[in-house]
Structures are given as C-alpha cells and as structure tokens.
Symmetry: C2
Subunit: 191 residues, 2 copies
C-alpha cells in the first residue's frame, strides 16, 4: 500500500539495532517495557526510536512481523486440508501460542494486527480465508466474523498469561470455543 522512500544506510542500520534490541527485551521483560529502555538497550536516542516507530504497537508489530509471516505461510499451506474445522482450530491455537511469547502482548493483539505490517496482513488474510472456507462448507456458524476470532485469541492469551500451566490450557480453552460449553445432545454421530 504505502511504499515509503528507501532508508538511508545509517537509518536502516539503526532500525535493525532497534528491532534486535526490542526482540531481546520484550522476550525478557514483557511487551510493556518502557520505550526509553528499548532505546537505551539498542544504543540509539529516544528520538530515533520514535521517529521510526511512532507507537508501541508499531514497534511490536515490526518485532512480530517475521514470526507472523512464517505462521501465516504455514497456515496457508494447510488451507486446503479436508477438515476446515481442524485447520481453524490449529490456527487459533497457534495464534495464541505466538501471542503469549511476549508477556503482556495479548491486550495489543487486535491493534497490532491492524498496523499493516507484512506479517500482520498475511496473518489476517489467511485467518479470514480459513474462516470463509469453513463457513462455505457449512461447518461454522454463518454469523461468525474474523474479529470474533481475534477476540477469542485475546481473551485466551490474557487468561493463559496470568494463570499458570500454559500449553494444555490453550488447547482446552480453544476447544471450549470450538465445541461450546454445552454437552452435545446424544444423536447419531455424524462424521
């Protein structure tokens, strides 16, 4: 969409330093770490940081871009699988798994996905496509939107973060969302 003018060599170098430092420090101290600290850790001035990444979400999105791009590509390859519900479940589980990599990232997920980073665009696009496929196959309620999926991923990430044992809990909560709370009435088992 926006093809920004190419960066000068020194600027590009600083950008890389910032991203490397952000990755480090977000992993270690969570996504709410102060911008000053990121700048100091990267060895650049605070002004430089803000010039390149005007908001925290921009920085988070950039730091996540590769991760999200790889995730989206992986899901794209599975998009044509036989069972669209199972692919959708995997998508949700993975999205949460990536979200909880940085502690405190969950609350920003919705905003970050809208920043327009390559990885975020790809993640959104493939998610919408998986949902559409499942909907077309009549396997998913017609009134379910992609925003609902993001909402669910956010909530699960939030609880997983502030609770203890993670991976099993993610699968469990995704399953609650997929299968519902109520027990299915015992009918003829359809495939």
């Amino acid at each position: 969409m926006t093809d920004d003018p190419p960066l000068r060599a020194d600027a590009r170098h600083n950008r890389d330093k910032i991203l490397a430092a952000a990755e480090d420090i977000f992993l270690e101290r969570g996504a709410a770490v102060s911008m000053n600290e990121v700048a100091r850790h990267a060895g650049v001035g605070i002004g430089t940081l803000y010039r390149r990444f005007p908001t925290r979400e921009d920085l988070l999105a950039a730091a996540y871009s590769d991760r999200f791009a790889a995730f989206a590509e992986g899901m794209r390859l599975r998009a044509e699988e036989a069972d669209p519900l199972s692919v959708l479940r995997t998508y949700l589980e993975e999205l949460v798994r990536h979200t909880v990599v940085y502690r405190g990232f969950a609350t920003s997920l919705g905003i970050v996905l809208k920043t327009g980073t390559a990885g975020c665009i790809a993640t959104t696009a493939v998610g919408q496509r998986l949902l559409q496929t499942a909907r077309d196959a009549g396997r998913v309620r017609a009134d379910l939107g992609f925003d609902d999926l993001v909402c669910v991923a956010t909530a699960i990430s939030l609880t997983v973060e502030q609770g203890e044992g993670a991976p099993a809990r993610i699968a469990h909560l995704v399953s609650v969302f997929m299968e519902g709370i109520a027990v299915r009435p015992p009918g003829p088992a359809a495939s």
Copy 2:
C-alpha cells in the same frame, strides 16, 4: 475473612465520597481514568484515596460491589430452576452486561473478582454453584471450570466494548460459546 476495625466517622464519609466520585467518573471516562482525577473529583487528597484503596482494582471492586451483590442475589434465587443451562446462559449474559458498564473494565474482571469484596465473593460463589449444578446434570462439559467462564465473559466484554450495537451482540456471543462454533450435525432434534 479479614474483619478490619471499624472506620472513624470522617473516614467513612470520605470513603463514600470517593466511591460516589469513582462511580461517576468511571461511567463517564472509563476504568482507566487517573487516580489523581478520581481524588480531585471526590474532593479528597490523593493520599486519602490510596490509603483506602491501595490499587486501582481495589477501587474498581469496591465501586462494583453493590452491583455485583445484587446480581449475585438475583442469580441465587434462580439457581433451582429446571433448566441449568438456561440459568448459566443468563448468568453469563448478565455478567457481561455488568462488565461493560465501565469501558475498559473487561481486562480487570479476572483480577477484580479475586479482590474479596462482598459482591465479588457472592458473584464467584453463585457462578461456581450454577456451574456445578449444570455439570452434575451432565449438561455441561466436565472439564469446564469457573475460570473458563470468567475467561469467556472477558472475551465477550472485550469485543462488545470495541464494537458497536451492544445488547444483541452480547446475546449472540454468549450463544456462540454456549452452543459452540461448529454447526450441529443434523440429527433428530433433541429438546
């Protein structure tokens, strides 16, 4: 649990002023408003506010206590109704409805419910009881805990907040979680 010593008359009066101001200002500006502003609006010093409510969650919980207490009492009266699923659905809907009263409260719901306020204790207790009843009747997944319900309520509150038209959307999302995302296999319609 903790039966704190009774407050002096002036302290009690200030506490009431703070709660009234908090209610006002949370309604108008959301749950993230600054503590300074709450104190100013209440006409007390910031020190007084912090002495009485050491954390924002404590203040939120206190401001919500009456609301939650009334809600819990209402649900308690319906606990013996014939259909435990329908009561549980109502519980979820109401919990969300109360949560979205203050914009930005959703993310704190889990923490606030654990603060030990009378209303919060009652709300938790009645929710656990409704869930237990539904579980005993085999109408709800056996692996579903109260924390999961809170997680669901958080998720719904989050999307409702940032979306538009509210009450229908709440009912819709609650239904998504109650019945699941997947379309039911077309079988003989069980009641």
